[in-house]
């Protein structure tokens, strides 16, 4: 599933104008679980990893997923403003575009159509994810009478 697949260069230029670019060095924490940071990130270059903790008091960490350029991360907290759910670290030097929710509101005031596509795409992606989780975790969705 693609994010904003049909958007024009002008749309991206507008998003860029309302975002800021952050640089991370290897090992830097991009997103830490529990922090409140209502923003959407787009990985422009570099590699990141999602780290899950387990074990005694959660001190053991597992690399759950590697994230490559072009990935959009942080959409859950972007939408609901709740604390971040995962830890994301930079593996290599990386540049990320950060669109804060406040900036998004401004962007939405300027270009409601683009804002609508952003929200719809995120909504679609989350809906898909919930379906996948239903299948994956319980599978009951389809069979419970």
């Amino acid at each position: 599933m693609r994010f904003l697949a049909g958007s024009s260069d002008e749309d991206w230029a507008l998003i860029r104008r309302h975002s800021e670019t952050r640089r991370f060095l290897p090992g830097d924490v991009v997103i830490s679980a529990g922090e409140s940071d209502r923003a959407l990130y787009i990985v422009v270059d570099g590699t990141l990893q999602v780290v899950r903790s387990s074990g005694f008091r959660g001190r053991t960490t597992e690399v759950a997923r590697t994230i490559h350029p072009g990935s959009v991360i942080g959409e859950m907290a972007f939408l609901d403003g709740k604390p971040r759910s995962a830890l994301v670290q930079a593996v290599s030097e990386a540049h990320l575009m950060r669109l804060s929710f406040d900036s998004f509101e401004v962007l939405a005031a300027k270009d409601p159509a683009l804002a609508r596509s952003i929200l719809l795409d995120l909504g679609r992606i989350l809906a898909d994810r919930i379906r996948a989780l239903q299948r994956f975790e319980t599978g009951h969705g389809a069979v419970i009478e």
Partner: protein, 887 residues
Amino acid sequence: MTPVSGDQEPATTAAPVFPNYMQMRRRMPIAAWHVLRVGSVAAFLVLCVTLVVRPAGGLFVLWGVLIPSLPLLFLVAPGLWRNICPLAAANQTPRLLGFTQGRTAPKWMRERGYLLAISLFIAVVTTRKVVFDTNGPAVALLLMGTIVAAFVGGVFLKGKSGWCSTICPLLPVQRLYGQTPFVTVPNGHCQPCVGCTKNCYDFNPGVAYQADMYDADQTWSAPRKLFAGAFLGLIVAFFTLPTPPAISRPELYVRFAAYVLVSAGAFFALDSVLRISTSKLAAVFATASINTFYWHSSRTLARSFGEMFGTDGDGIVWPLRALVLSLSAWWLLRTLRAERKFVAASVSQPVRLAPSQVQALSGEGRGSDGPEVHVVPENLRVIAAEGNSLLEVLESAGLPIEAGCRMGMCGSDPIAVLEGAEHVTPVAEEECNTLRRLGLGSTTRMACCARVTGDVRISLVPEKGDARATAPVAFDTSLRSVVVIGNGIAGITAADFVRRGHPDCEIHVIGQEPHPLYNRMGISRLIYGRSAMQGLYLLPDSWYEDHGITCWLNTQARRIDLEAQHVILGTGESLAFSRLILAMGSSSSVPPIPGFGLPGSFVLREASDAIAIRSFAQHHGASRAVVAGGGLLGLESAYALRQLGLAVTVLERSERLLRKQVDERCSQLLASYLDGLGIELVTRVEVSEVSGDDRVRRALLSDGDATNCDLFLVCAGIRPNAQLAKEAGIEVRAGVLVDTGMRTSHPGVFAAGDVAELEGQVLGLWPVSVAQAEVAAANALGGQEVLARAQLVAILKGVGIDLTSVGRFQPGPEDEVIVVDDGQNYAYGKLIVSDGKLVGGIILGRPQDAPHLIAAVKRQADVRDHMERLRQGDWEALATPPTLVGT
């Protein structure tokens, strides 16, 4: 999107990583399983009978053949056992025959059943050495007891929650060894699944155990971990402890318990020391357990084999051990791989951009070009657009920084430039004064003034400095005391400058509000922000004390006695003064509106107003607000109320917004932007009345319309607080009348800020107040300073779009006008050039050009050489190197 493993692109039709029993290939029809189950139950019953009538034979079959074989079966094909287990068959019979009550298992059983299962299992294993290994009828009784319990569980509870998936003592072993089956056999019982258990093994054998280990609920995962740890100790104890009567029975139980506890303790200790996941550790323990078990049980099996076939079975001992070792090693590898797949699949696949878009983004150059602002200790590296102020960079990065005048005068945004000071624009005069007032360390800059030209390292917390200003060479020693009425920016600036000029005199500052100097320009954020006054205070706590200034907060000046040179306070105390500086500021001006004063009607002037608005809106669940007044404050307030979640209508008396600050086109763009934010704007209308029984409910408009509202806010300008001066006999019109030296009609009394009226004007602007207070202070000390004519700057910030207007914006007949209009992006600029000189301009949505414009208009820059560039929209041309002023 289906969860996928690894880092590949999501496939559109990926097979499930961990197929559930409905997705697995079924090799045998369900009916065949039923037949097998009839056989297994019959065999079970035969075994029970045998245990009673021929105990030796029954015990041989059970302990010599069946039990030693089961762990290997669990390791290889656990599903096979789950399908033919006689206890499961008994448990599922009521469902199959339609007489189960199908109730949901009680909470304790669902959540803590596993602990019961573990306890039963340990109890049975321990008691083998005491009773069960030798007493056939006792074992028969035990087996019959379990099958009856399983059956009863099936009569009452739904699915397999009455036995198999909750309290079956063999369940912990099956789940531990069966987590990565070599052969998967789909569940042949549950038709259909009724969702009776969390992380059900029969539903999805590959996922169940990992899901347990990674469960966020400790009460769920901890018992599973406990068993994985304890099991090894139990096995070692069973095979190594002597059998009664070699030791007493109580001692046997105590030693069993000790082994189990040591083993479990070692597990949790390793879990806390080793940097591997608990799931991996559990798999390693399980591998050790099964090998320990078969180290001993291979002999048992060999003996049984020998007895059955009348041969010497010793030959199979080592091959059996080797088989288990290699199988379990393979199993361990498979388990580790399964864990990795589980973790990857349970973290959602990130949303991706199309490759062309990625290329466009990284190719744009904005990624790695541009100066880097490194914020410590947060360790954030933000790439700034060259020329942006540090304030803009920090704000857009969402970092906690306050903003006020954005001109370096209010002092709300001090930061420390730790490295790369040469990569920010130098300090200009206004900022220099503010820095001196704050008295912070030498690395301090006002973030709004420092524009980035190269890499810098900064800290949001300025370094402490030597607060005391250096004493002047000469000062008037006859001057004993200066009283300043007012604790706003005019009052504080005056007090500060008096102290700079006079190290000795008493200085009293009387403030009616309960707060030390705060950023009045930031109070609209109190409405929607959650940090209340935090960050709004503009001076370090010790500032008054460091400057030898006595501050009277929450104190009212009741009377001024000019004759006796005293200010009498509301508390009854009286302060003598040699010089008096009036800086009482202003209040909101409220036109006479019937109904104003009902709960829910507000003005916004002081921090307490904003705090009250936020409280009121929460308390009454306000959903609609009407803001009367479309000026700068009105728009900022409307934005703040909108941010708080209210539907907002702004009423503007004239035909457009900010009529006195911007031209028509700019008004229009601003209105359309606000409309996009959801702020409704109605022009040419006023409120004629607000009404409601208990609180504000409706606003009646001058055009006859009415609108419902819970909150009514008047932003209709200011009224100087000049009453006290008037009563004292000082000349007052709208404000306290002053000359350009800020002298009032009474010698020795000065006025500055919003309370002062100069040449018929009360401007009510922060920079004007600062400039006036400096002049008032200098002249109070005997100076002869004259207020420089200020170029008025109007700035609209904090509504998500930047607007700056300076000087004239309407051209005269001879003037040249340059307009840059990019309405689609809400960017607009206008310059007025008169006789080759820049005399005014407007900038909307181009924040980086604003400081150049302000500076250029202030110095009436000659722009004749740059007209072409300016017409093209390149307003960098207005920039000139600013004057360097040392700090």
